[in-house]
């Protein structure tokens, strides 16, 4: 291990632990109420009790299911529609007004409407997650499929490739790195969608659990839920990074993952 790689590991550990120490010191020395800001060790203690409670994992599973389902729907629709619009200009012209409008609507504002249409169960949260996760994948896919090089297409034309062969051997591999970047944003959006859905109308999931803890003024537990949600987001984000290393190892962006 050389000098710089030592500091690469030592410095983040140092900065995070100083931050936690300062936080703890501040809570204990100032007169801030424990209801407003609990000390990190209090949160840790609450969390360590929560993780042995099956209730937490039940709610976590619900939120994960909603977010992942919404994400998968968003990715499938985003890639398909992006491809069709990139290849058939008429479809792009026809869809443009809807796309622009939908892009401008704050999607979160549609959440109550989706609850009204799809009920208080998982379905409405999946739809909200999908609605939020759709645009990052779709707009990246549209740009990526449009950017397929004409010279590369000439290569496929000379080989008498069928449209399906072009898609699999040229368009998808070209688009993949850019689409994956969109997916990294999307997966976080899907999490937000699922949680917001649970906030405003639900009886299950980590979003619901957070609201329930708030009403009980169980602030350390509320922080515990936030930590679990963050870890879940991190897990999904890392998974996309792994996908990049598996599916697009030739691309420079794979090395960051």
């Amino acid at each position: 291990m050389n000098n710089s790689s030592f500091w690469r590991i030592a410095l983040p550990i140092l900065s995070v632990s100083s931050f936690l120490l300062f936080w703890s010191w501040y809570v204990h020395t100032s007169d801030v109420s424990a209801f407003v800001l609990p000390a990190p060790e209090t949160i840790l203690k609450a969390l360590s009790e929560m993780i042995f409670d099956p209730k937490l994992w039940h709610h976590a599973k619900i939120t994960l299911t909603e977010a992942v389902s919404g994400f998968v729907i968003a990715v499938s629709l985003g890639i398909s529609l992006g491809f069709i619009m990139a290849r058939v200009p008429a479809v792009e012209w026809a869809m443009k007004p809807f796309i622009v409008l939908l892009q401008l609507v704050p999607k979160i504002a549609l959440a109550p409407l989706f609850i009204l249409w799809f009920g208080f169960g998982l379905e409405s949260k999946i739809v909200i997650a999908a609605a939020l996760a759709f645009f990052p994948v779709f707009s990246n896919a549209l740009v990526a499929f449009k950017s397929v090089d004409n010279g590369d297409r000439d290569v496929m034309t000379m080989l008498q490739a069928t449209p399906l062969q072009r898609l699999i051997l040229l368009d998808l591999p070209t688009a993949l790195p850019v689409v994956l970047t969109g997916m990294e944003v999307s997966v976080v959006m899907a999490m937000i969608g699922a949680i917001v859905g649970e906030f405003i109308g639900g009886s299950e999931g980590l979003g619901y659990l957070a609201v329930a803890y708030l009403q009980e003024l169980a602030v350390p537990e509320l922080f515990g839920v936030i930590v679990v949600l963050t870890l879940m987001g991190l897990l999904l984000y890392t998974l996309i990074g792994r996908l990049r290393a598996w599916f697009a190892p030739w691309h420079a962006s794979a090395e960051k993952a």
Binding site: D154, T157, M158, L159, L170, W250, H251
Partner: protein, 269 residues
Amino acid sequence: MSDLSVEAEAVEVSIRGLTKIFGEGEGAVTAISDADLILQRGEFLSLLGPSGCGKTTLLRIVAGLEFPTEGSVDVRGKSVWNRHKRSKAATKPISMMFQEARLFPWFTVAQNVALPLRVAGMPKAQRIERAHEICETVGLAGFENHRPAQLSGGMRQRASLARALVTDPQVLLLDEPFGALDAMTRDALNMELMQVCARADVTTILVTHSIAEAAFLSDRVVVLAPRPARITGVEAIPFPRPRSLDLQRQTEFQDMVAHLRTALVGGAE
């Protein structure tokens, strides 16, 4: 006469009255006007001319990548263009190599070289074996599992040549394939190209702006001139084959280069 029919059978590519105009009205550009060319089977023909005289356009029309404004192109008796539609049957025997290597970065060298066979539906084991053979032929042995990004410019063009040859094409179209390479790599690749073409009875059209390259490789050199883009002369290159790099140092060769240079300058006036 029987003589004529034998000759007609050996015609591989015939280009008649070919004209291409890009755009309309004021901004229209005549990229090639009223070109006629007949290529015999196995012939090596070069298109020589300054940039902008329509060489790429001519080649792309033969390849079926650009439709002609007027005139026709037949490959092995089949018309490449039916109105503005590319004929798959006519273009099937054609392979084209572009100025850039145009390898796909998501494939290894072997996968890139095997791509034409994959598209044609050949089973994996078989096509990879064939790709390895052809890599050996063009001096890429040992690089089959590299990615294109790991190769030098010369190696990439070798891979691109291998991909063009892997289907055993009958007509090979080369658009300044070695134009971006240094002189030594270029000489080496030209030698390989000549050997490959001699072995496989393939008919070749090479676009180049190097007079020496055209004189060295070709059976005939077509001289083009710009503004308006047109064919100004066709010169036969009588040097016997096989040719070696030594040929380039002989006076006959240098006379031929001088002659072609005069033809180029004369055509431009």
